[in-house]
Symmetry: C2
């Protein structure tokens, strides 16, 4: 069975050495000194290592079962979930008035990485509830907040998001679920929703479904969509549970992974729903919390890679196979450990440099969300809107690749379920798909975010890169800064190409959208590695802390720059070929 | 459920338009005119589509079950296997004296693609038997051939290859299975073998295990290894089956994929074994058929991508989602088909250009094997030895990627097992691992094959590329030839880097081995696409056949050159950074 040890030290390095959160002017960050974050992270680590990780493989093996309309979660899930609940983890960043602790969102992300690495399927029950809470917080009435939030914050009740229908996922304008206005001001919701994570299960007293449906008079397409609260059990005036509402689970899906999370077909048959926010403005309401939700999925991508990497390292140190060609390293043993082989090192360094870069990128993103939400900083809001598809798309594509490579380190054992490496890859696979498939992320980035507000946010990003490069003339950083500069130039050139060609033919931009998303992702990780290297040198110069730890950061930074960042040139080369070869084939010739 | 339609026309294009097999001087190829190959391919297509593909998903869902020492294959497998058997497919390229048809090996590969696309797990029962036959053919005594081959060629008996043990896969020098000489000239085999595909099952009367074991006096490491035949049931003088031998299945593994194939732990407890070939020369015997076996695995990689592509295309044409940004294409529908979106096109063109290039590459490889074996052409033998790790490693890495991308076209449905796209990815995953993990292929390529016979074979490859480029001055091919030239230059530069740096520090070469394998793979597919484009122009100029088909080949060639081939520059850039950043970290810092 795989192991999990939460990377508390690495997380603290990002939060304090790199992002310097204790000194940040973001409201609430002044409380986050090293001792405070250490206490929180260590508690989260303990829970992740001791309670969540041990049931991860069980969840994969047993999966969820639908029995007489009830979904049974895997053995041990309820007990582990109870510990998340008791620890108050769901309310970490939520308002005190609803039972939360009102800490910054970045602490939800930082602890979330541990939970997701330990048990992604289980963590989703909480994660979706958190998303539903955000929607109600942003758009619900005071009465709705009072009715639903305290129980959802405490995880007595969980939440879901109901968007997809059998014939539509990305294109929500096509949804058919109907909302008929009733005399009492509620709506009767009728229709079928699919792919509803945690749609039904046995770990909560009530389930609060957030449902997109069409009420009369809203017009065609996405304009006619409204958002509704549909509780599984009606909630009485006094907060007690009333009648069963007309929503039932029709089926649960057999999936490639995240078996421990019930992916449900939900049938709404005149279920009572309550409008959230304005009528016909449901899309806006649903997408308010999109940045958070998508950052959370990007985090899943790298968090799975993180735990896969940990295990690949352990195996590479333990498994004896072959000899170091430059000289025997383990003369007493029958062979040297895998770790001596350069190609194994390459895989592990790819993983390490990705995971640590992704962690910094995601936490930086979380700090931008805090800045945007807690100080209503429009620039931070614009920047995180721009970066969100990159975090989601790039980190999940790469995260999955890294899990596959971690399997590879295990050779044949990587393919055997018992060893657990297959589960990391299978679980990570979903993150490339849900919450907007990665192709949709790329489309959002190139088709929308790039030109948003006159291109102001991408300009702000380039200014940040420039600022980082100009921030020091430390000659020890010159090689890293030069590499970042070159990669950033590729990104600018790609943006210019889109501007010039995309005007005449939008397909010239869209054909390069995924390459652009990856190019952007590499520049972001390059930026993170320059920042991390600067922080490492600062710590080394100060002579404090674990010197080998900081030296390893520098070595990893140099690996990323040497081996990963040069991908920007390939992405640019592909982008520059435009749409001609992509669109050349007639439909019949595929 | 996914569909499968065997690409007979594409295969004929490769065999006749590109490789021109009917006019080849390879012995036996003169029989392979278009009508003959059409008849064979259409029969194989019928079997694949009608019998093998329909039980593929069943095999995945049910898997194999171990019941009281008997492995039960999935519902319908035995019936489908009986049809492979009755069709005489296993003997297609095997000697007539043992019941085969003695056709060239290339026809085994061409039909094999269809079988593997239709049902990889089922096809393995035959494929492993074929491999065991090759080993006995090459190294067995006449008596052994007479005893085992007729029944194995007919598939009344199947075969296995027993190499791996719990503590050793790649490093076979570590094996512990013992062979004790007996008075009657046989050996008593004792030990445990793992990952034995088709080690036990209910579809054959007998199973002939080929087992690597250590007999006394052979010395340390791989030198002491010999190869043995260990039949499940002893074979009497008259060919009838005798006593049960001392080999039993201990367990079957739960795997990520190929569930329909039983992956067995085999326990040998003083089982009677018969030496094949020379004592202590087992490694040589086992590796004789390595080129074929590895080519067969490379084929699995692209064959899974081929069927995944077929289904992704069907879904992209059928699924309505969003609108073409350049103008509505399906005004009567609620949305346009996925196929209008450039990013979906990109995915499909990646797949199409890979699969068709890989098919040509693999069939070219098979023709080199025929040339080497049927005319004992040492140059062809050297060339295929060089190309084998590229075929195996590159085509399985990419093939898996393409299956993952095909899943992506399906959005959420790609993750649901019912749709079948997950199975293609999960099945394809093993091909990167078994028959020498891809990192081992890269090591074989860079550490052994590149310098073999003084670098003669890689020189021969470069000469072939030059020859192709010089073979025509048709201006319509200039862009393609230039692209190939540039890619080939990158490959030469990488080779030079290894020569210069690898002498001083072998790690400088080994750290770039996987990049080199991919670089080489791209150049090979580039070469194939120039050849295919030349063949397409020739057919277009002749005005024969399906003009749209040949135009599509040209469009696909140009896509590959524009979007895939530029990866060579990235691989070269990575290679040139050598081992420094790869090996920089201390063991404790991982």
């Amino acid at each position: 069975m795989p192991s999990y040890t939460a990377p508390v030290k690495d997380m603290q390095f990002v939060l304090h050495d790199v992002l310097n959160i204790g000194q940040s002017d973001i409201p609430g960050y002044d409380e986050l000194d090293r001792d405070t974050t250490a206490a929180i992270l260590e508690e989260a680590a303990k829970l992740s290592e001791g309670a969540l990780a041990p049931v991860n493989a069980i969840g994969d093996r047993e999966g969820c079962r639908l029995e007489n309309g009830v979904v049974r979660t895997p053995t041990g899930f309820a007990e582990a979930f109870a510990q998340i609940k008791e620890g108050g983890w769901n309310g970490l960043d939520l308002p005190e008035e609803f039972g939360g602790q009102n800490l910054p969102y970045i602490m939800n992300s930082a602890t979330g990485e541990f939970f997701v690495s330990a048990n992604m399927a289980l963590n989703m029950y909480q994660g979706l509830t958190h998303g539903a809470i955000s929607a109600i917080l942003a758009h619900g009435s005071d009465a709705q907040k009072a009715t639903y939030l305290p129980k959802m914050v405490s995880l007595d009740w969980t939440g879901t998001m109901n968007l997809t229908e059998p014939h539509c996922g990305t294109d929500l304008g096509l949804i058919r679920t109907k909302a008929e206005p009733q005399a009492d001001g509620s709506y009767a919701i009728t229709g079928q929703k699919i792919f509803i994570s945690a749609g039904e299960h046995d770990m909560a007293e009530n389930i609060i479904h957030l449902v997109l449906a069409k009420a009369p008079g809203g017009g065609e397409g996405t304009k006619g969509i409204s958002l509704f609260i549909v509780p599984k059990y009606m909630v009485n005036e006094d907060g007690s549970l009333g009648a069963r509402n007309g929503v039932i689970v029709g089926n649960i899906e057999e999936k490639m992974g995240i078996h421990g999370n019930a992916t449900c077909v939900m049938n709404y048959d005149g279920a009572t729903g309550f409008l959230v926010g304005d009528l016909h403005k449901g899309m806006r309401a649903m997408f308010t919390m999109m940045n958070e939700a998508r950052l959370g999925v990007g985090l899943q991508g790298y968090a799975q890679a993180a735990v896969a990497y940990e295990n690949a390292v352990a195996y590479a140190k333990d498994r004896l196979q072959g000899r170091d060609v430059t000289g025997v390293k383990n003369p007493e043993g029958a062979a040297d450990p895998l770790l001596v082989h350069p190609d194994i090192r390459r895989i592990l360094m790819d993983q390490k440099s990705f995971v640590e870069g992704a962690r910094a990128f995601t936490m930086w993103g979380a700090s931008l969300i805090d800045r945007a939400h807690r100080s209503t900083d429009a620039e931070a809001d614009g920047l995180i809107s721009l970066l969100t598809p990159v975090i989601k798309g790039f980190l999940t594509d790469k995260g999955f690749d890294m899990c596959v490579q971690a399997q590879q380190v295990y050779g044949g054992h990587g393919y055997i379920e018992e060893w657990g490496m297959s589960q990391f890859a299978r679980d990570a696979r979903i993150a490339m798909i849900y919450e907007g498939a990665n192709g949709v992320q790329a489309l959002d980035l190139v088709g929308r975010k790039l030109a948003q507000d006159g291109g102001k946010h991408v300009m702000a990003f380039f200014a940040l890169v420039k600022e980082e490069i100009a921030s020091t003339d430390d000659p020890r950083l010159t090689d890293l800064r030069d590499a970042l500069k070159a990669a950033s130039k590729d990104l600018q050139a790609a943006g210019m190409f889109f501007m010039e060609r995309g005007m005449k033919n939008p397909n010239d931009a869209l054909a390069g959208s995924t390459d652009f998303m990856h190019l952007f992702g590499h520049v972001c990780l390059g930026l993170m590695w320059v920042r991390m290297a600067r922080a490492a040198y600062a710590a080394l110069d100060a002579g404090t802390g674990d010197q080998a730890f900081y030296q390893a950061k520098l070595a990893t930074a140099r690996y990323y720059m040497a081996r990963q960042l040069p991908a920007t040139a390939l992405h640019l080369a592909r982008i520059r070929t435009g749409a001609d070869t992509v669109m050349a084939l007639a439909e019949a010739d595929f």
